[in-house]
């Protein structure tokens, strides 16, 4: 599992690649720390290469969303696959995020 973060002006893009399971949660949480301070920006969580997400992964997405809201930023989850869409649906997270 790898996470890369790019900044393009007022837009921050986090690209997740692999399986965001319990084992990957801690390094991923570290990797997304720069997003926690981003203010008044758009944060895109690019999931086009994300194969799987566990509860730990959902918690990371949730904490990004909470910090973004506190700092006036907006989070968009982009390009989730069918399995992850199902996870978002089953947990009610689908109505927490803007999904593109």
């Amino acid at each position: 599992m790898t996470t890369t973060i790019q900044q393009n002006g007022n837009q921050w893009i986090a690209c997740f690649n692999g399986r965001l399971d319990t084992a990957a949660a801690a390094p991923t949480a570290d990797a997304v720390k720069p997003l926690m301070e981003v203010a008044n920006s758009e944060i895109i969580l690019d999931c086009s290469q994300l194969e799987y997400i566990s509860s730990s992964g959902l918690r990371i997405f949730l904490s990004i969303r909470k910090e973004a809201a506190a700092h006036g930023s907006k989070v968009i989850v982009r390009s989730i696959n069918a399995d992850i869409r199902q996870v978002f649906m089953m947990t009610g997270f689908i109505s927490l995020f803007e999904i593109q």
Partner: protein, 352 residues
């Protein structure tokens, strides 16, 4: 400053010496005002202040310097202004100011009450105040946003008083002032009536008279305060011993209206009618996973899904549901398809 007589020059010298004191007084005034507004939960559009500039003071002295014996005779060296949303908040903040500061009643005017039939404009409340520890007084202006807009635009015309302005324009400015005064009164009345409506709704909800309450944003919020979906969400959470992440449910108002709920009674019946199927859907979805976090929207989401499916709304109905909740986007078709296939496996409804 050139052109000022000796007396005025002395007043200006006095001003230069007093400037740090005036600046400190400005800070103290602002601190007291901010604290009082926050403590009393009074929302306002603007709280601002200024210390009169030397240039502005010189201009004033050039016009009427002989009127002032000492600098402390000038009451607007420090000025503060609060602009409110509502006209009754002006009165509320005036009352607060009377507790915060000592009001110099001989020099304070409520221009709102001085209006004569032929008076000019739409004016505000001006208090001349003292704050302990300072020899100087300061001016506090209280006005509504509409009064402020009128005053700002009037100021922009360049006429400083009603005497200067040509009669034709004065008449038109006064027409606007009258109109804005009526608008201010109406805004205050609307606020009072909305507050009264909310109180009545809360009473009806508390007394369980849900059929008497039309469904709208206010009433739905009141209903949600009773946490009517807690039991369902806890049952769903228990499937995987999940934690529940609280989220606002107000976005489901549009869905419930689309599902023909007219009153809170309709909402209550819909919830109770479909909560068991909503739970079964959740158990079917979550039972084979180790997902141990859910949002508090999962109960109402599943109720809406099963209601749509049970009433023959099919995949198209689900797409519409997700369009309302998530905004129209291409993912919603796939989401509807997925949900429909999962629901089919429950064999609860005759789905094809």
């Amino acid at each position: 400053m050139d052109g000022l007589d000796f007396h005025c020059q002395l007043l200006l010298d006095e001003y230069r010496d007093a400037l740090p004191t005036l600046q400190k007084m400005q800070e103290d005034v602002m601190e007291r005002l901010h604290k009082a507004l926050e403590h009393n939960k009074l929302a306002v559009t603007t709280v601002e202040s200024r210390v009169k500039t030397e240039q502005s003071l010189a201009g004033k002295l050039a016009l009427k310097g002989a009127k002032y014996t000492t600098l402390s005779d000038i009451t607007d060296l420090v000025g503060a202004r609060i602009v409110t949303y509502y006209t009754d908040d002006v009165d509320r903040i005036a009352a607060l100011s009377e507790q915060l500061f000592e009001i110099d009643w001989n020099n304070s005017v409520d221009k709102r009450r001085l209006h004569q039939l032929d008076s000019f404009g739409y004016n505000s409340l001006h208090y001349i105040c003292r704050i302990p520890g300072y020899d100087f007084r300061f001016e506090l202006q209280l006005r509504t946003t509409l009064q402020h807009a009128w005053a700002a635009i009037n100021h922009d015309t360049g006429y400083k008083s009603g005497v200067e302005i040509p009669r034709e324009y004065m008449r038109r400015m006064n027409r606007l002032a009258g109109m804005l005064e009526m608008a201010d009164d109406e805004f205050s009345r609307i606020r009072l009536e909305i507050n009264d409506y909310r109180r009545r709704v809360q009473t009806l909800v508390a007394n369980g008279k849900l059929d008497d309450v039309l469904l709208d944003g206010d009433t739905f919020r009141s209903y949600l305060q009773a946490r009517p979906l807690d039991a369902l969400n806890k049952r769903i959470a228990a499937i995987n011993q999940a934690e529940i992440q609280e989220v606002p449910l107000i976005r489901y108002l549009r869905v419930l209206l689309a599902l023909q709920c007219k009153t809170l009674g309709d909402v209550e019946r819909l919830f109770r009618k479909y909560e068991e199927d909503a739970y079964r859907l959740a158990r079917h979805q979550l039972g084979n996973t180790d997902l141990d976090i859910i949002s508090s929207s999962v109960g109402i989401q599943n109720i809406c899904i099963v209601c749509i499916l049970a009433t023959g709304g099919g995949k198209i109905g689900l797409v519409r549901l997700f369009d309302v909740l998530n905004g129209h986007n291409s993912q919603n078709d796939a989401l509807a398809e997925l949900t429909f296939e999962q629901a089919k496996n429950l064999h609860l409804w005759n789905l094809h």
